[in-house]
């Protein structure tokens, strides 16, 4: 499966592996924010926030545009969607197993009923 060896997905999961960056993504889901707006709720210095934004940019989760002295960040949803697709397949795998499990249990229950009825 192509997605198993996806450097792009590696970057996305790395980017999501930090609470500050997840908080930033949540903030950005409400719309464009500048760097100080992103840094403020995290009680973070400007350079620290910039570092995190760079990781998000590198994973293409965030796009930055510069207007004068202001840096505005915007969420890019496509890589997140890919990540969701990928974890969904873990779910599909287990759903399939458990569906087979359900069928098996139904058979086991019928066999048991049959056994009880027989003298």
């Amino acid at each position: 499966m192509v997605l198993d060896r996806s450097p792009r997905l590696d970057l996305v999961f790395h980017a999501l592996a930090h609470p500050a960056r997840r908080a930033m993504i949540r903030q950005l889901s409400g719309g464009e924010r500048n760097l100080s707006e992103l840094a403020a709720p995290l009680k973070m210095t400007f350079p620290a926030a910039t570092k995190h934004v760079r990781v998000l940019e590198h994973a293409r989760l965030v796009r930055r545009r510069v207007a004068g002295r202001q840096h505005f960040c915007r969420l890019e949803a496509a890589p997140l969607k890919e990540a969701t697709l990928w974890t969904d397949s873990f779910r599909q795998h287990w759903e399939a197993r458990f569906a087979a499990f359900d069928t098996l249990l139904d058979e086991m229950k019928s066999e048991e009923h049959a056994r009880v009825r027989r003298p």
Binding site: D4, F13, W86, T87, H93, W94, R97, L104, L105
Partner: protein, 163 residues
Amino acid sequence: MSSTSPQGLRISTPTDTTHVLTRAFNAPRRLVWEATFTPDKMRRWMLPPPGLTMTTCECDARVGGKLSIAWKNDEADPVMTLRGEFTEVVLLEHAVHTETMALASGQTLGSQVEKHAFADQGAATIMTITQTYNSKEDRDGALASGMDEGMEACYQQLDALLK
């Protein structure tokens, strides 16, 4: 991260190294336990990765008991193995076992500790599987192998539709 499907499967990642799967089954605990740990029953629900067929399935759910599963494909028999040992067993309550997946060459694909816990919910049984990996990388790698198997399940459904 946590999500629930219409079928009632709940998957969560409470820590960086664990997956927790919770699912209700419409059967008494005794039958769910039997289906989980009896080899001829396990063969029915442990869907193999794409292109592979399960050859060996041994499971002895007692403390010190072994778990041994092997798969083959067109080129090699076995092509992949799963080996483990039960470290904690309380009949019909819970069981903990180690497991290591390896290629025929001996190369290890990953190890984890798996705990199955069973609880009554009316006439149904809730099974909770907690998978604990050595590292976050190992856990996320397991997601990747799940992808292959998930895709295979889709292909099988497609095959059934096309028949």
